[in-house]
């Protein structure tokens, strides 16, 4: 019985190939966006893991509390006392003129999971690493160093790093007998003395610096995930609509089958199998598309991560079975969720119940009430989230509550508006039009909700990005006040450069920096000179009256906004920076794009605190027309690398480029979401148009022409879209406000002013209305072309 049943059910899809396509495409699109984002995230995460593994291992690390290098003798003492540690040295150097980040490891003691360590001991790859000076790098990284003779490409290494044997690295970095940290093996022997007995200067730190990286980038990935989920939800609307339609249209067939003796259970099982086939097909297409989307977007994501966080992520995508299975599971799960409702109804269908095709469209008032209640509850939750929420996840939860709450409120609002219009209408025709529109809202509401979400996201994200851009460009102008920025390769060259530059520049401003721990977090410390360059330009958000005089004394410091927000510090507060070091906060400055906390203090105070530090970077003040000649002269006179001298304009251009690329992904996902929403409207209208013949036939019989009916259909779609658009503007602005004042603050630690961009809304309005027109054009045209006989049949045929 299964076969004929299945054949009968399947015949529907042969008759309705478009519906079949819609179902598969809708599900595939939903899966594609979701799995695409997942692929990007997992690629980035695996890069972090590789980097963590490469640099500090997944486990614990021993370091000097003061950040100074570890002496080789200390490593030996630890090993000889039974501490299983492995040395690492790290630094920047040049290989055939290209700046690289070099990691020195000891393969013989490296922890088990170290990829470079393994490769160094393998017969195929290891030759020459231990004693021949061979270097290792990931294939892409190695390809970037074509002139290097002794570099070997090793799969699975963290991108952007070059690995050398510890001794080779010490030599290349000119730091003999030094290490930066010791990796602690997971397994340690039975008896070993306390760390304090052997190496009291060293302290144990669990989780490497790349753990910080994962934490820092978490918010970025959460952002992407939120987009993926949104797209998926929108896609599910389509699937829900299509499956609903297919079930509705087959009601008569179900009834016949049941009457012929097919048990309800079998019917449901066969339908489940049918859905399974759809889910798997769509899942296959969707994951394929998702892979393409991820591959297309990954270079931008990689650039963003590098620019924003200094995280190295390969621009190429690896296929992961795990990811693919998740994508398939999501497709199947999504189909299940979208079809539960319909299947439930079918299972409960009495054998000879008269088919009620309108039942599905006529969502009961009870549902409407439930939706309204849900909407209010969610919006209240969002309000509570704004007031009491803490953390990025809470921020996104607030956002979710706001968006879904607003979506649920939409049908209610639309019904109110249409009801109002109907009451105002005087003539029969408009009255019928409004009444008919009102009763269509339940059927269209899911698609309209999808449109609302897509539009609001568009407005919200657009507002955030544009506000950010405006603030950021202004800030860059203030922050980058010097004409030239210069980096020396070592102290000797720095001294030479200073002597040479003194008569040729208006000012040489040394930039010294180091890392300390502030309130338990790693923080950057920058030393800046007392100079008008800073006094006149530095972008201060808050300041004490004579802020620069206070900083000049060395007693006061400036902190960045991130530190101020994270620790709730204000100007006038006193901050403890070390055991015998406290300083007054004289000002707070904006520091966009920096994921870390940072303080600024006077150069002299910096020298006193960190006498071992030498300035290797300098900001130079020169008359603007002298910039290029000075750069040329510097490059000619000194052996400087290609990036060692940069002018202000280049840095600005670079910063803006990073900024733009950061949001390329958001923009791309935005457009994709909007197209999915447009598609949702199309499918919903198609669904409705097929079912509405019985309602339109009487109107036609009363004398309204095909053409008028079709025009009205078109008008209705545009009107509903327009109303949704109007609702989307305040929602989008609310979204932007949450993004700027909650998410940004929690995720990055900076607050941004919000600017409004009505022109952008106008463009969006045109796009949205255009999409609605396009989506309704075809159903309207179909209506226009419906043969009169077809309409007449409504009266003949009782169904």
């Amino acid at each position: 019985m299964i076969r004929p049943t299945l054949q009968a059910l399947m015949s529907h899809w042969r008759a309705q190939p478009l519906q079949c396509l819609t179902l598969i495409l809708g599900l595939a699109l939903a899966t594609a966006l979701f799995s695409g984002v997942q692929a990007i995230n997992s690629e980035a995460r695996s890069a972090y893991a590789q980097a963590a593994d490469a640099v500090s291992g997944p486990g614990a690390v021993l370091e000097r509390a003061d950040g100074a290098p570890i002496e080789q003798a200390q490593f030996i003492s630890l090993r000889r006392a039974g501490w299983m540690v492995s040395p690492v040295i790290e630094g920047r150097t040049r290989i055939s003129g290209t700046q690289i980040r070099l990691i020195g490891i000891d393969p013989l003691t490296a922890p088990q999971g170290s990829r470079a360590g393994q490769a160094a001991l393998s017969q195929e790859d290891g030759t020459g690493f231990l004693s021949g000076g061979t270097l290792f790098a990931a294939p892409n990284t190695a390809a970037g160093l074509p002139d290097a003779q002794n570099i070997r490409a090793i799969e699975g290494l963290a991108p952007g790093l070059v690995f050398a044997d510890i001794g080779v690295a010490q030599e290349m970095l000119k730091r003999p007998g030094e290490f930066d940290r010791l990796l602690l093996a997971d397994e340690q022997p039975l008896n070993r003395p306390q760390l304090a007995e052997i190496a009291p200067e060293l302290q144990l730190r669990t989780g490497g610096t790349e753990g910080d990286l994962a934490r820092l980038t978490d918010s970025f990935h959460l952002n992407l995930t939120a987009f993926g989920l949104l797209s998926f939800a929108v896609g599910l609307f389509i699937v829900h609509a299509t499956i609903g339609l297919a079930f509705e249209q087959r009601r008569a067939m179900f009834r016949t089958l049941r009457a012929l003796g097919v048990p309800a259970r079998l019917l449901v099982t066969v339908l489940l199998a049918e859905l399974g086939i759809f889910a798997v097909t769509a899942g296959l297409i969707g994951t394929g598309l998702g892979y393409l989307i991820a591959a297309a977007l990954l270079p931008d994501v990689a650039a963003t991560l590098t620019g924003l966080y200094g995280a190295n992520v390969d621009g190429s995508l690896t296929f992961r079975a795990n990811w693919w299975l998740t994508g398939m599971a999501i497709a199947i799960l999504g189909t299940a969720v979208a079809s539960t409702n319909s299947l439930q109804k079918l299972a409960r269908l009495p054998v000879l119940a008269p088919a009620k095709p309108r039942a599905w469209v006529m969502a009961s008032d009870k549902t409407a009430l439930l939706q309204a209640g849900l909407a209010l509850a969610l919006l209240a939750l969002a309000a509570l989230g704004v007031i009491f929420g803490r953390g990025v996840v809470a921020g996104f939860a607030t956002l979710g509550a706001l968006m879904i709450g607003a979506a649920f409120a939409l049908p209610m609002i639309l019904r109110l508006c249409v009801g109002l219009a109907a009451r105002v209408a005087k003539n029969v025709k408009p009255q019928w039009f409004w009444a008919d529109t009102r009763q269509q809202i339940p059927g269209l509401s899911l698609a309209l909700m999808a449109l609302l979400l897509a539009l609001a996201t568009n407005i919200g994200v657009g507002t955030m990005v544009s506000s950010f851009r405006l603030t950021f460009t202004g800030w860059l102008d203030q922050r980058l006040a010097s004409e030239l920025y210069l980096r020396a390769s070592d102290a000797e060259q720095a001294a030479e450069l200073q002597t040479w530059l003194a008569p040729r520049t208006d000012a040489i401003l040394p930039l010294i920096n180091t890392e300390i721990e502030i309130l338990g977090r790693p923080a950057e410390v920058f030393g800046i000179a007392d100079h008008p360059t800073y006094r006149d330009n530095w972008p201060l958000l808050e300041r004490l009256p004579d802020v620069w005089d206070r900083v000049a004394t060395g007693q006061a410091i400036l902190i960045n906004e991130q530190l101020s927000i994270r620790e709730g510090l204000r100007t006038g507060d006193t901050l403890t920076l070390g055991p015998d070091w406290q300083a007054e906060i004289a000002g707070v400055y904006s520091d966009y794009g920096n994921p870390r906390i940072q303080i600024l203090l006077n150069t002299d105070a910096m020298d006193a605190r960190f006498p071992d530090l030498t300035a290797l970077q300098f900001a130079l003040r020169v008359p603007p027309d002298q910039t290029q000649p000075l750069m040329d002269a510097l490059n000619e006179k000194f052996d400087l690398g290609p990036d060692a001298v940069i002018d202000q304009a280049s840095i600005k251009a670079f910063s803006l480029e990073v900024f733009e690329r950061t949001f390329t992904v958001s923009a791309a996902l935005n457009i994709l979401t909007l197209s999915v929403a447009g598609f949702a409207i199309l499918t919903s209208l198609l669904t409705l148009s097929a079912m509405r013949l019985p309602q339109l036939a009487p109107v036609w019989a009363l004398g309204m022409t095909h053409a008028t009916l079709a025009r009205l259909e078109l008008l209705r779609a545009v009107l509903l879209a327009a109303m949704t658009l109007i609702a989307a503007v305040p929602l989008g602005l609310a979204l932007a406000w949450v993004l700027l004042n909650v998410i940004n603050v929690e995720a990055f630690g900076w607050r941004l002013p919000m600017y409004l961009f009505p022109t952008a809304w106008l463009i969006l309005a045109v796009a949205a209305l255009g999409a609605a027109v396009l989506a309704s054009l075809w159903p309207a045209w179909r209506l226009y072309r419906t043969p009169p006989a077809h309409l007449l049949k409504v009266f003949v045929n009782e169904r």
């Binding site: 090993r79 000889r80 013989l108 490769a119 017969q123 231990l130 003999p176 022997p189 008896n191």
Partner: protein, 348 residues
């Protein structure tokens, strides 16, 4: 797998085709490593130290111990040296690679630990005077080789033993020149089989005081096996009569064997015997780590009227190290009674 390949290459214990260049006949091989020559007189204490111009070398101690609890125990302490080039250099450039293996065998359990280090920086090495061999915190050190402390540990076991030699050093083969194949591969090889041992084993259940005997093997060469040899079965046996015997069987790809060994009188006088005299025949195997390993043997040496059964104290004494093999204490019964150690390579 990679690590293992490397180590096989480096240690060339089972090197075969990798280092098949053969002997140049002038005391050095194609890569510049020295090779043993017959008639070279070993000098002490210098030869207790390292010979970096030879490719491989080891300091190999096995001990048969009895605990206060009445149980039999076995302990292994080994330091391998393997040279990438026939020289030493200061610091990390040193081409001398060191590897330590430690094991503790009880009748029911077998504990293993392994260490790696590079020479040149002090993490591992051997000095002749005062005698000290170490890798990390493991050491075999004393004022001199006749009186040493030996310690090692892993994540779940440790031992600290003091050892005193009751007899002289014993030269294997021809005055310390030990031939390893019919085609002439050889190594320098001497032993100290007369250690009296006392100390403590640290087991998960707690410490156990032990006493017993230990045997040190010192061996260095640049190519101990020939191409057609796939592994060895090596025995060091101490009989209740005070006599001792070292015997090994090198397995060949053609199914034949090369055997050799030394009978050691209670006063330490060695009597070497050549290929074919000593016979070792597997009597039973155990399934260890998915491999069939012969853990019961019949050994015969007609010259000495030796006909004994040798049986592993714990058949699961598999050394699950980067370069895996079987090594554990054995009990001897038959014409002679006693205890000893068995090492089997090439079964992985």
């Amino acid at each position: 797998m990679n690590v293992k390949h490397f180590l096989i290459a480096v240690l060339c214990v089972l090197a075969g085709p990798l280092f098949a260049q053969g002997f140049a006949g002038l005391g050095t091989d194609a890569d510049g490593f020295s090779t043993p020559t017959r008639g070279t007189e070993l000098t002490f204490p210098e030869d207790h130290g390292a010979h970096p111009d030879y490719r491989i070398e080891w300091w190999y101690v096995t001990a048969n111990l009895k605990g206060e609890d009445g149980k039999d125990y076995g302990v292994q302490w080994t330091l391998f040296r393997s040279a990438l080039e026939p020289q030493t250099k200061d610091g990390w450039q040193d081409p001398q690679i060191w590897m330590g293996h430690a094991a503790l065998t009880t009748p029911t359990r077998h504990f293993v630990a392994e260490r790696f280090a590079r020479g040149g920086v002090g993490q591992a090495g051997v000095t002749a005077t005062p005698f000290a061999a170490w890798i990390d915190e493991w050491q075999l050190a004393g004022p001199e080789i006749g009186s040493v402390n030996m310690s090692a540990q892993g994540t779940d076991f440790a031992y600290e033993l003091s050892m005193t030699a009751d007899g002289p050093l014993v030269f294997q083969g021809d005055e310390g020149y030990s031939v390893k194949s019919a085609s002439g591969q050889a190594s320098y090889y001497y032993s100290q089989p007369f250690y009296r041992v006392e100390g403590t084993l640290f087991l998960p259940e707690g410490p156990v005081k032990v006493t017993g005997s230990a045997w040190l093997d010192r061996e260095w060469s640049s190519q101990p096996l020939s191409d057609n040899q796939t592994g060895w079965d090596w025995f060091s046996l101490s009989f209740e009569t005070g006599e001792k015997m070292m015997g090994f069987r090198l397995r060949q790809t053609d199914g034949a064997y090369y055997t050799s060994g030394t009978w050691i009188a209670p006063d330490g006088t060695p009597s070497p015997f050549g290929d074919g005299v000593f016979k070792a025949v597997p009597q039973g195997t155990a399934r260890v780590k998915d491999k069939d390993v012969p853990v019961e043997w019949r050994l015969t040496l007609p010259d000495r009227e030796l006909d004994v059964a040798v049986k592993a104290l714990n058949p699961n004494a598999w050394m699950d190290t980067a370069f895996p093999y079987w090594e554990g204490p054995v009990m001897i019964s038959g014409s002679h009674k006693g205890r000893g150690y068995l090492e089997m390579t090439g079964y992985d």
